[in-house]
Amino acid sequence: MKLSKEEIIDLLKQRGLEVNDLYPTQISVIVNKENLINHLVYLKSIGFDHLSFINAVDFIDEGEFELVYHVWSYTNKVHVLNKVRIDRNDPKIPTIVDLWEQAQFYEQEVHEFFGIVFEGNKDLSPLFLENWLDIPPLRKDFDTREFSIRLFDAKPNGGDR
């Protein structure tokens, strides 16, 4: 049963979600933390079976993290960006590992780079960085140039060795 983008938008609007139509094949949906899981379950039921990506954006001046769950439907040919806002000081959000198993690694990565805790995810150990004591690097208040100059004494214009 192939749904057109407009039908999907109406379906989501009926569920009381704020939807805006970005591009011919892309729509974005604002979801709040509580009904994220059953929203994704609903999406999965109407054909969105490919979780392509989970990533986070750090809106430091609004003091919030925005988690974006990219979901694509092979049948309806529509891409949905589910955006969830969580508070920056205690970043917690339920895990979706039991919906898609590859979410485990995306969540591990987001945890490592933003410090967002995914409740229910069994293994949030660091994936890429080793022996990392500073604040999660992808946060806006982490300055990578300063870090590189202090630790590796990098010279801004390559400098003379």
């Binding site: 970005l22 591009y23 094949t25 892309q26 974005s28 079976d49 490919h50 979780l51 392509s52 990506f53 990533n55 954006v57 750090d58 974006v68 990219h70 694509w72 092979y74 040919k77 891409h79 960006l81 898609w100 198993e101 590859q102 485990q104 690694f105 995306y106 780079f113 994936l127 890429f128 960085l129 080793e130 690097p137 992808l138 982490f142 990578t144 140039r145």
Partner: protein, 381 residues
């Protein structure tokens, strides 16, 4: 000097067969790229696997927030060395989506041609690496020799052999130099003749069949559920291709044949890459025929001062390894607010490793990785 790095450490005393730890580690001849698995083994059978990623992590997403919009185009192809063009195209398409501009048709076709050529080089490297993992070095050398012919064409067109930095928001940097197209046709004819040799030495080789049959089986539903994309997805029977589902560049004008095979094991994936290689050659010829005249890029003024309006977009490109996705968020400034990159090899490299490796013997690991075309840099980014 302490004992060598792969220590014989007893992890668990499991019915008196000592489980020992073997680093199928970063600098291992069978490993493609700088990536590693810590394998806990009994004898030659793997019991548990822990991926040891991160050697190639350069923090692209952080670096991109420090650089201007145009500077990132030099940074972006370095994410996947084997297949650099999809990154540039995805990044530029995302920016064009936010700015809501439409690049001229000729630029679309040039983008498609460079994408498909980069796909050819990546397939050649992939097939060669698969042969090398099985111990057959001859096709690797022959295929790299043919790959150099395509790299020469890239060098002529863009000035760079591997990193082309050729796409910019609004089109491509320069038009095709004259004489370039018929040299491309000559190279394509040469490659088509070469295919017969590749078949004889690699794809019809009885021992290759014996080694790859049934290795790393992924069923049709699992391939979708685990988020596999690209040739790995189609080799398990799912007819999905980003170029058809969500066309970008000039793919709307071309008819892209989606090839699927029922099989899902390593051998089918290898044959899938081989057939798609042939299909890509036909696609380039088609694009060359339909390419209109006209200028190659929009005039967006001084690109260094480019200001992308506030907004966000996710652009997908079908690279040789799968779906390369760029999620770009802009706050209207001179620099991107956030760029997130979705690499195609993460589900295959990390998730399938947990599923397939534990029952596998040590001698299939390199072949298993070669068949899934795992490209570690796009896991670590």
């Amino acid at each position: 000097m302490d004992a060598p790095s792969y220590m014989l450490t007893k992890i668990a005393e499991k019915d008196d067969l000592a489980v020992y730890e073997l680093f199928f580690g970063p600098n291992h001849p069978g490993m493609h790229g700088n990536f590693g698995y810590v394998l806990e083994m009994i004898g030659t059978e793997i019991v548990k696997v822990r991926p040891n990623a991160g050697q190639l992590h350069r923090g692209f997403e952080k670096l991109m927030e420090q650089k201007l919009w145009v500077q990132n185009i030099a940074l972006v192809p370095r994410i996947c060395v084997v297949d650099p063009d999809p990154n540039e195209v995805a990044y530029c398409t995302a920016i064009e989506k936010i700015m809501g501009i439409e690049i001229p048709d000729r630029a679309k076709f040039i983008r498609t041609i460079t994408l498909e050529m980069s796909r050819l080089t990546s397939f050649l490297m992939g097939m060669g690496a698969l042969g090398a993992a099985l111990g057959l070095y001859t096709p690797m050398y022959i295929m790299t020799a043919d790959r150099d012919l395509i790299l020469d064409l890239f060098e002529w067109l863009t000035g760079g052999r591997i990193y082309h930095i050729f796409n910019i928001p609004g089109g491509v940097r320069n038009d095709l130099p004259e004489g370039w197209v018929d040299r491309l046709n000559k190279v394509l004819d040469h490659l088509e003749k070469r295919l017969i040799e590749y078949d004889k030495i690699l794809f019809e080789n009885p021992i290759v069949h014996k080694r790859l049959k049934g290795l790393g089986y992924v069923s049709k539903e699992d391939a979708v559920r685990f988020g596999l994309t690209g040739p790995n997805l189609r080799a398990s029977g799912n007819p999905y291709d980003v170029r058809v589902d969500d066309p970008y560049a000039a793919y709307a004008y071309l008819d892209v044949k989606v090839i699927i095979q029922e099989g899902g094991d390593a051998l089918t994936r290898a044959v899938q890459v081989r057939i798609e290689f042939e299909e890509t050659i036909k696609l380039i010829r088609q694009a060359l025929k339909l390419m209109p005249e006209g200028e190659v890029r929009l005039n967006l003024g001084n690109l260094a001062m480019l200001k992308v309006p506030k907004g966000e977009a996710y652009a997908k490109v079908e690279s040789s390894k799968g779906e390369f996705g760029y999620y770009v968020v802009s706050d209207g400034g001179m620099k991107p607010y956030r760029v997130a990159v979705r690499g195609p090899s993460l589900p295959a490299g990390l998730l399938l490793a947990q599923k397939h490796l534990p029952k596998m013997k040590i001698d299939d690991v390199a072949a298993w990785m070669g068949s899934l075309a795992i490209c570690p840099p796009d896991i670590d980014k």
